[in-house]
């Protein structure tokens, strides 16, 4: 068995791949994961994988990535660069070799240009998370709706600035006061995400966009990207596990070398 672990800012995702290519996916809250399953040893976080409730698995290779990788080395695991993991996952899940990957996670926005299955350039968000899952959660909370409801709307968006994830809340409340409908407000929120990532998508453009990360579950945003850029937008199943799957695929490749 081959395991891929994506140490994300909100969730730790685990993908388990077997020799037949079957995938099993698991998700843990990031803070609970570190608190309950990890302890420090020789300056590295040691995670007891057998206690995660994944069953008794004979691990042949474990590969990890993610934000936590910078501060934590998962014992027994080989670390790989985050965007590399995501590109590997996107290539594996779609079978495509030439595309632009858009990965919107808990706090990260990543755009990578992929040619012949290899990353040739990339961009990431900088200093602000106003195009990520955390931003959507905050805005949904302001509107008192859930993420599923938020992700339905893209028509008649209210105009919102896209400069700050937190000031965005105040601005949204202002629009509520002005009497806009929840549908228009939600569409406005979804459009701000598009506005943030549009320059990166244009800079690293391809006819096909592979959209991954938790935010890829937002159907309205998929619709907005498709119609605004006139591109083919592919969203693999379970897009939030893309990084973990990329790690698992890498683990299998390493084990078979």
């Amino acid at each position: 068995m081959y395991a891929g672990i994506d140490l994300g800012s909100r969730n730790v995702k685990v993908a388990i791949l077997d020799d037949q290519g079957q995938l099993k996916l698991h998700k843990f809250d990031t803070v609970s994961f570190y608190r309950e399953h990890g302890h420090m040893e020789d300056g590295q976080l040691l995670v007891d994988l057998s206690a995660l409730g994944l069953g008794d698995i004979g691990w042949q290779q474990i590969v990890s990535t993610g934000y936590g990788r910078q501060t934590i080395n998962l014992k027994g695991a080989k670390n790989i660069a985050e965007i590399k993991a995501h590109v590997t996952g996107a290539v594996y899940l779609t079978g495509k070799e030439d595309f632009t990957m858009l990965d919107l996670g808990g706090q990260d926005s990543k755009v990578a240009l992929v040619r012949k299955g290899r990353m040739v350039d990339f961009e990431t968000n900088d200093r602000c998370a106003a195009s990520t899952g955390r931003y959507l959660e905050n805005m949904a909370a302001v509107l008192d709706i859930d993420l599923a409801e938020l992700s339905k709307h893209y028509q008649h968006p209210v105009e919102l600035s896209s400069t700050c994830a937190i000031f965005g809340e105040t601005e949204l409340i202002g629009k509520v006061v002005e009497g806009y409908s929840v549908a228009e407000l939600a569409a406005g929120v979804n459009y701000t995400i598009f506005k943030r990532v549009k320059p990166m998508l244009l800079k690293l453009a391809s006819p096909t966009i592979v959209f991954t990360g938790g935010v890829a579950q937002n159907q309205a945003l998929r619709q907005i990207v498709t119609q605004e850029l006139n591109k083919e937008v592919l969203v693999p199943d379970n897009p939030q596990y893309n990084g973990a799957i990329g790690c698992a695929v890498t683990a299998k490749k390493l084990a078979l070398q």
Partner: protein, 325 residues
């Protein structure tokens, strides 16, 4: 000897010829035991948060160093914020001497600027040309060090950066600086060759965080070209001082700088280039030109506060190196 603060590289021959000592304020700021504190002090004085930390650091550095009562400020060819820096220093009672690199590299205008500086400090061409000979002898060691970095793989990216960046003011003592280099060079034959998988070029102003070079080297990549630092060391063989500062690429437009960058990418067989710009700097705009003109992979890095690399920048560096492999 009287110390004179400088905001970036200026014709230091003139200062030394006048019997004074140039002090690169950037170096004093960044080697302070708590440079972030200096930035915060400038903000308390009223400097905006969304402004380059180098300018803020220089402001506080001048005010805190009572032996510096005169500053030569480069008002054209470096940073437009220097105008307001000069005004706020003036308000604090500091004497400011402006120096402007002509945008079009005009020989006569540059000569006029240098001569005005000579008049302001009280020296002449004869003394300046004599000083140039002394400083050129020191610079030759820097050129040798650079060669030992990229050709012989004997010098780390950080040491290459450090020695070259100091050539803006020769650490206030060219003789002592030359001796330090001689000592360093004498030990080199015993040092093993540095072997790294990737050869990286670093372009743009020197980084405000000091662990970039080591971080890259730990991950199998080494900086073998420091663009601006190398320019500080003036790697041009000319007896004409005006021509020397005309060949010096940093204060002129991006297209002239790119000629040097493109030549060195090829010569030094670079795998990729890190293009560094300071947060809130107009030079960030030039990134779009750099990306069109350079044909090796580029990572654009932005540095804000004087500190260590943040987790996000490390993630970007890791991904870039992975991409180059």
């Amino acid at each position: 000897m009287k110390k004179i603060g400088i905001t970036t590289t200026i014709p230091s021959e003139v200062v030394y010829a006048a019997g004074m000592v140039p002090v690169d304020l950037n170096n004093i700021f960044i080697t302070h035991n708590n440079p972030q504190l200096l930035v915060e002090e400038a903000e308390l004085a009223g400097y905006p948060r969304n402004l380059c930390s180098w300018i803020k650091g220089i402001y506080t550095t001048v005010l805190n160093n009572k032996d510096i009562d005169t500053v030569i400020a480069v008002t054209q060819g470096d940073c437009s914020n220097t105008h307001a820096l000069m005004e706020t220093l003036d308000l604090a009672g500091i004497k400011v001497i402006p120096f402007a690199y002509p945008f079009d590299r005009d020989y006569d205008l540059l000569k006029l600027q240098i001569e005005k500086l000579m008049t302001a400090l009280g020296t002449d061409w004869e003394q300046v040309n004599e000083t140039k000979k002394t400083l050129d002898a020191v610079r030759k060691r820097l050129w040798q060090m650079d060669q030992l970095t990229w050709q012989d793989n004997k010098i780390s990216g950080f040491d290459n950066h450090l020695f070259q960046v100091c050539s803006s003011d020769f650490n206030g003592n060219p003789e002592q600086f030359a001796k330090e280099m001689d000592d360093y060079l004498a030990k080199l034959p015993q040092q093993p060759e540095i072997k790294t998988e990737l050869r990286i070029g670093y372009i743009g102003v020197p980084p405000i965080m000091d662990d970039l070079y080591d971080y890259l080297e730990e991950r199998g990549a080494r900086v073998v070209y420091n663009e601006v630092q190398r320019q500080f060391a003036m790697p041009f063989d000319t007896d004409d001082l005006v021509e020397q500062y005309r060949l010096y690429s940093y204060p002129y437009g991006i297209f002239y700088r790119l000629e040097d960058i493109i030549e060195q990418i090829k010569l030094r067989q670079l795998d990729g280039v890190i293009s560094y710009a300071q947060s809130f700097c107009y030079r960030q705009i030039e990134d779009l030109i750099i990306r069109q003109k350079i044909d090796v992979p580029i990572l654009t890095l932005e540095g804000d506060k004087p500190n260590k690399l943040d987790a996000r920048t490390k993630m970007r560096l890791d991904s870039f190196l992975e991409m180059l492999r």
